[in-house]
Each structure stands twice: as structure tokens, then as C-alpha cells.
Amino acid sequence: MDELNRRHFLLRAGAGLSAAWVSANWPALLSAATHAHNAAKAATPPKSEFFTPEEAAEVEAITARLIPTDDTPGAREAGVVYFIDRGLATFWTDDQKTYREGLPDLQARVGEMYPSLSKFSGLAAEQQDAVLHSFDENTDAPRRAFRVRPGAQSFFEMLRQHTINGFLIDPDYGGNHDGVGWKVIGREREHMFQAPFGYYDKEYSGWQPEAKEADKK
């Protein structure tokens, strides 16, 4: 990593970090800076690799109902469809079949529910939600899985999970465009943090051994 990039990174990282802390942790910060730099280099610009343009428009419309745009950005602004597309061409190749079979099913369902229309993306928002509800089996997905493993059940469930992944993954890895997903949930996009972290530890006066016990006596 060259000096300019390093300085840029540390400037970005520097907000809220004290000079003493930065200097004490300098080697670790450099290492983190190198990671961020390498990850940024690895991110690829959006281009369709798996979906046809028509499929991409349909999938984007679905993601936009799963995580909609309101007064804050949603899946559309996060470029989730590009992330899913790249995923299906690379790390999610096992899931291609579910999409190949699921998209025509979706098309058919749109035709059944709204005979005059054929495309999901052509429906009004309420109609889109009605179609998605008809697919959502509300499977009893374990609320606290140790790991983020899609159960690979239905097309809907897979798309739901892929959309969440594309919206919330660290932006350095190709999704969550411009970090909008993290802005929505309030996660700062830094590689390092210094205490205090939140409201409740800000006023903490330090560890007091057994103060309560002493008071009681």
C-alpha cells in the first residue's frame, strides 16, 4: 500500500481516535489499512454475469420490496441485484438452479394473480407485496443460527436471504454499495474503534471492586 493511500485511509479512520491511541496501535492500524486497501482493489464494478437484463429487472424489483426505499435507501440503492448476480456467477453457484426454476414460477404466479400483467416489475407495490406473500411460507427459520447459512429452501427464502446479505455485507466485498446498508442500521464504516463505544459506557467511572458490598455493611 502506498503512502498516499495509507494517509487517506488513516484520515478516514482518524475521526474520534486520539493521537496517543493511534501511535500506540500503529502497526495494527497499518495492517488494517492494508486489508481495507486490498479489499477495495478486489471489488468489481457492476455488470451482469448471470441474469439476463429482463431477469435482473425482475430480481431488482423483488429486492426493492424486501428492503424497500423510503426516506432512507433500500436494496435498490445498495445495488443488491448486482451483488446477487455476481454471487450466482461465483460463490453462490450452487444456488443457480433455484433461481433458474424460481423466476419462471414467479412469472406464472404473477399471471395467475393478475391475468392482464406478466411482469413482477410491472405491478404496483401492493400487488408486488401480495405476490411475495403468496410465496412466503414463513418457514420456521431458526431465529438464532450460529452461522448465516441459507437453508436453501424455497426460491423466495433464498432471495430474501441473498438480499439481506447484499444489503448488509461489508461494502469492501462488492455489495452494500457506498455503505448505504450500514448507514441505514447505523454502523460506522471503519476498520477500528476506540472506547467509549456507546451511550452507557461513556460515563462509566471505571471498575469499582465490591463497592456495593462495602455499602451494605
Partner: protein, 554 residues
């Protein structure tokens, strides 16, 4: 690799071959090579280093970059031995140099005196194999101290009135407190309990050429990219390499221990990356492959002389598996905690470490900790209140509202050792190398579930005392997925009820040693790695003494 290692030939009879490079294998390799022995460590996973670790949740969590892979290494599960097991992912462990210590939470409590003598103290528990250890806390104390000072543990000695005696303070102060820790500490003290700064195997200060934690927030399940987490990779493995006598050989999948006509181990047979088979010859074999793979390797090594598997004259290899009971209660608060910053845990409580079965009506005990171990994606799947819609406007609003205001109280508890709970070889399913897959058989003892629910109730009391806006949990459920892999080749004096003696030597094969989670006799209260590492330091001392006294080679 940071330094030049020796390259031993497989035909060289080295002093020790160590199977597995995790919490135990790393330390044993480091100790034995430091003591002058020639050591080869065979690790089934790749040699990843800090430069390979990142914050990619998909790669790390879903695609198993650091862990056993369900496609290559499928498993089966059943509740009882009378059922036919069904294919399902049944366990996770670290599959890389450093093993599970690379991605663990790094909660590093010592076991207490009670854990070693519980059978004597509470008496027999009908239908279980609960028994005392052949060693006591006092035997292990010097080695706990070694772990703290040589591997690197942050903490505050004397902060918990329930702590067992210690010979030395921690080598460095605790990590900073998080908002979850402050909330937990204030509320628990209000209730008259004794929370204390969490002992963590993460550096709070730069030490031994390693960086202090920079609070990046991708800790549990991830490898530490600055080497602040005290994994075997960041510590013992590097020290072993520096001796110039230890070779770490990654991508080496050991599937048989060879024995000779005299019933002695002669070496370990493994597949290399290209699936060629080799026999690494050694004077003694030490298996540290974890509480699932260690018994599996012994069972895979069955031959004419040892028809039930190696070191299995007792018939209990793989049995008495304990997974630790417990679970999580989640709470939400008014103001931002921003608990995604930093490591997971900053406060722990041991008031319920020893519960009186006469009073509570069940066996067991546990610890509680204040944490946030979610990442953004895992939070969206597991951190929201159960009634939250799973998609759409209200789902998004909940994510935005809750991510920064949520914390967890994790309840960690005992599991009783039951003979039916086990890892064994599946009779049908094979792994990608054509070897029998791991089969998990498990049904929690009713007391383990009662304990879980009892601790959840205490966690709810803490959230109430803290003024949480919302809190929830689910009743303790029977487990079907293993993370802590304990007790499957347990230590004991009697060869009929244990697999290894207190020197970690198998009762049946004098130059075969086992050390990892499988060695544990009781489950402790949910944080086993510290004890596995202390056992490893002690085992290395014992093995060194036996080797120098000529008791292994004859």
C-alpha cells in the same frame, strides 16, 4: 509461515507427530519442540495467516473459509442409538492452522475447584457417567497461569469473589468495558450479584510482538487480522516454528494411526492436498484433533489387533459427549450501545457457578456474560424480536432501530455425561475422501434443559433491573448441533471407564497420547478452551518427563 521450518521426510522417525494444530496441538507442539524434540504437526486444513483474514461474512460464515466444510465432510444426526441417523450438518470446528482458536469468542475463564470433584461433592446422578477427574484444580493451576502469560489473556485478578485461587495476576488489564457490560454490571449489582471484567484471550496491550485489539467488531467466527486474538496461530504455532525443530504440515488429513505387532503406534497415515497417502513415522503419536475428530480417528484406526478401534478396550471412545447447555436472552435499550464495536464479551458473572441441587431441583451450574456477537448480516437473521416481519418496510425499520440498541446475555452451563451421547462413524455416509462420516447422537439430560431455563430467568431479571425496553428468549431446546466437543475420550484412573490416564497416555497404547476437548471429564460451565490449553501445557510436561525417562520408547 513466518520462519524457515525444518522439512522432515515421512520416513524420518521423528520424536512426535501431533495430529491437529488447534488450542491443544499448537501448545503441545510448542512445548515439545522447545524441550528439544523433533515434531511434525499434521493439520487437515490450510495454513492461513493474518493476511488471509477479512470481514467478509459470506466467505467466513456461509462458505466455511475457516471451518469444516459440510459438502466435503458431511455429518448425520440422531437423538438416540435406536434411530437411523439423518444427514444434517451436526458440528462446526476450525479447519485451518490454529484450529478453532482462530475464530473463537476468546472467553477465557478457568474451571473452578468444583469442576474436578463434582461427583464426590454432589454424589452420583442416576443414569449418568458423572465422575471425578484424576487431577484437581491445584494440579492444573500452574498451567492456567502459563496460558495467561505465554498465550496472552487480559483480565483482573480478584475481581470475582467466586474465582479459584491463583498464583499470579493476569499479565495485562481487562479490555475496555462495552455498553452491554456497563448495563449488565449495574443491574446485576442492584440484584446483589457479582459481575466482573471478562477474562479474554485477546490482548488489551501490545505484547510479544503482537498488536493490541483495535475493536474492529468482526471477532467471533472471524480470524483476527492484526493478531490480537490469542489463537494458537498467533502464539504457540509461531513459537514452535521458531525452535527450528517443529514442522507444521498443512493440508494433511490424518485418517489412520498405524500400529505394529507389539501394539505400539508407529506413525500417522494421511492424505496430502492431492490425496496421495503418506505415513509419517514417529516414536509417539499425540492426537489433538478435537472432541469429534479424535474419537473418529481412533475408530477409523481399527485393525485386527484393535477390532473396536485404537485405545478402545473400554468401548467408550466417542461416548459421554458433552456440548454445554444454555443459550441467549436478548434485550433492547433506549440509547445506542454501539455494541458492534469491539470484541464480544466485557462482563461475566459466576454467582450461579455452583447451584445446590437440593435447592434448585436439578444438577448443574453456569456463568452469564454480557455480549454482542452479531455482525450486520447475522443480526438481521437472529437479532430482531421474534414478532418482527421478515421483510418489507417494517423489517427495515426494525433493523434501523435495533442494531445499535441491542445486547445479549449468554447463559453458559453444564452438560451431564451420558453414555448414549456420542460421536461415532456413520455406517452409510462417506466424506469426500471415501471415509465414514461423523455421526452425532445426542439428547440433552433433562437437568441440562432445566438449568438452561433457570439461567434464562436470571438473565430476564437482569434485563428488568436494567430497565430494558424489550427482552426475549426461547425455552431451552434439545441440541442437534455441536460447537463445544467435550468428553469423548475422557481421562481417568480406571481403564474400564476412561480412555486416557492423567498423563494423557491411552490406557491401551503406551506411545499414543490424546489431548483436546475429548480429554475433559466434566463439561465445566461452558468455556472449555482455557482448560484445554492448560491441559495441553501440563500434558507436554508429563510427556516430556515420560520420554526422558525412557517410558515411551520401550
Amino acid at each position: 509461515m513466518t520462519v524457515d521450518q525444518p522439512k522432515y521426510k515421512t520416513s524420518d522417525e521423528v520424536d512426535f507427530v501431533v495430529v491437529g494444530s488447534g488450542a491443544a496441538g499448537g501448545i503441545i507442539a510448542k512445548e515439545l519442540s522447545t524441550n528439544g524434540f523433533r515434531v511434525v504437526v499434521l493439520e487437515q486444513g490450510p495454513y492461513l495467516t493474518e493476511a488471509d483474514f477479512n470481514h467478509n461474512e459470506i466467505e467466513t460464515l456461509a462458505l466455511d473459509k475457516l471451518t469444516n466444510h459440510p459438502k466435503l465432510q458431511p455429518n448425520t444426526f440422531r437423538k438416540t442409538p435406536s434411530e437411523k441417523a439423518k444427514p444434517q450438518r451436526a458440528l462446526v470446528y476450525g479447519r485451518c492452522v490454529g484450529g478453532t482458536s482462530v475464530h473463537f469468542t476468546a472467553n477465557f475463564w478457568r474451571f473452578h475447584e468444583i469442576d474436578f470433584v463434582e461427583r464426590s461433592k454432589v454424589g452420583a446422578v442416576a443414569g449418568t457417567g458423572l465422575m471425578d477427574w484424576p487431577i484437581t484444580y491445584a494440579d492444573l493451576e500452574p498451567y492456567y497461569t502459563k496460558v495467561e502469560w505465554e498465550i496472552g489473556v487480559s483480565g483482573l485478578a480478584g475481581a470475582s469473589p467466586f474465582d479459584p485461587p491463583r498464583s499470579k495476576p493476569y499479565p495485562m488489564p481487562p479490555l475496555p468495558v462495552k455498553s452491554s457490560g456497563v448495563i449488565f454490571e449495574r443491574a446485576a449489582r442492584k440484584l446483589g450479584w457479582h459481575p466482573f471484567p471478562a477474562p479474554m484471550a485477546i490482548l488489551s496491550q501490545a505484547r510479544a510482538g503482537r498488536s493490541a485489539c483495535i475493536n474492529c467488531g468482526f471477532c467471533l467466527s472471524f480470524g483476527c487480522e492484526v493478531g490480537a486474538k490469542s489463537s494458537s496461530l498467533a502464539t504457540a504455532i509461531r513459537m514452535a516454528e521458531r525452535t527450528g525443530r517443529c514442522e507444521i504440515r498443512p493440508n494433511s488429513y490424518v485418517h489412520r494411526i498405524e500400529t505394529d505387532a507389539n501394539g505400539r503406534a508407529t506413525g500417522a497415515v494421511y492424505f496430502d492436498e492431492k490425496r496421495n497417502t503418506h505415513l509419517q513415522k514417529a516414536k509417539a503419536v499425540i492426537v489433538c484433533a478435537n472432541g469429534a475428530e479424535t474419537p473418529r480417528l481412533l475408530l477409523l484406526s481399527a485393525n485386527k489387533q484393535f477390532p473396536n478401534g485404537l485405545a478402545n478396550s473400554s468401548g467408550i471412545v466417542g461416548k459421554y459427549l458433552m456440548l454445554n447447555s444454555g443459550g441467549v436472552v436478548i434485550g433492547q435499550f433506549e440509547h445506542p450501545l454501539n455494541d458492534y464495536k469491539g470484541f464480544a464479551v466485557s462482563r461475566v458473572m459466576h454467582d450461579f457457578y455452583e447451584l445446590d441441587p437440593q435447592k434448585v431441583g436439578f444438577y448443574g451450574g453456569g456463568g452469564l456474560d454480557a455480549r454482542f456477537d452479531f455482525t450486520p448480516i447475522s443480526f438481521a437473521f437472529g437479532g430482531l424480536p421474534p414478532e418482527t416481519p421478515r421483510w418489507g418496510k417494517d423489517f427495515k425499520a426494525a433493523l434501523a432501530q435495533d442494531f445499535n440498541r441491542t445486547m445479549e446475555i449468554f447463559c453458559h452451563g453444564t452438560s451431564l455425561p451420558l453414555e448414549n451421547n456420542s460421536f461415532s462413524l456413520d455406517p452409510d455416509l462417506k466424506d469426500a475422501w471415501g471415509l465414514p462420516a461423523l455421526r452425532l447422537t445426542y439428547t440433552d439430560h433433562p437437568d441440562d434443559l432445566k438449568l438452561g431455563n433457570w439461567m434464562f430467568a436470571r438473565a430476564h431479571e437482569i434485563f428488568d433491573a436494567a430497565g430494558a425496553q424489550k427482552k426475549w428468549s426461547f425455552p431451552a431446546r434439545e441440541q442437534q448441533f455441536a460447537v463445544h466437543l467435550l468428553g469423548t475420550c475422557r481421562m481417568g484412573k480406571d481403564p474400564k471407564t476412561s480412555v486416557i490416564n492423567s498423563d494423557h497416555q491411552t490406557h491401551d497404547v503406551k506411545n499414543l497420547f490424546l489431548c483436546d476437548g475429548s480429554s475433559l471429564v466434566t463439561s465445566g460451565r461452558g468455556q472449555p478452551t482455557m482448560t484445554i490449553e492448560a491441559l495441553a501445557f501440563r500434558a507436554a510436561d508429563r510427556i516430556t518427563e515420560l520420554a526422558k525417562g525412557g517410558e515411551i520408547s520401550t
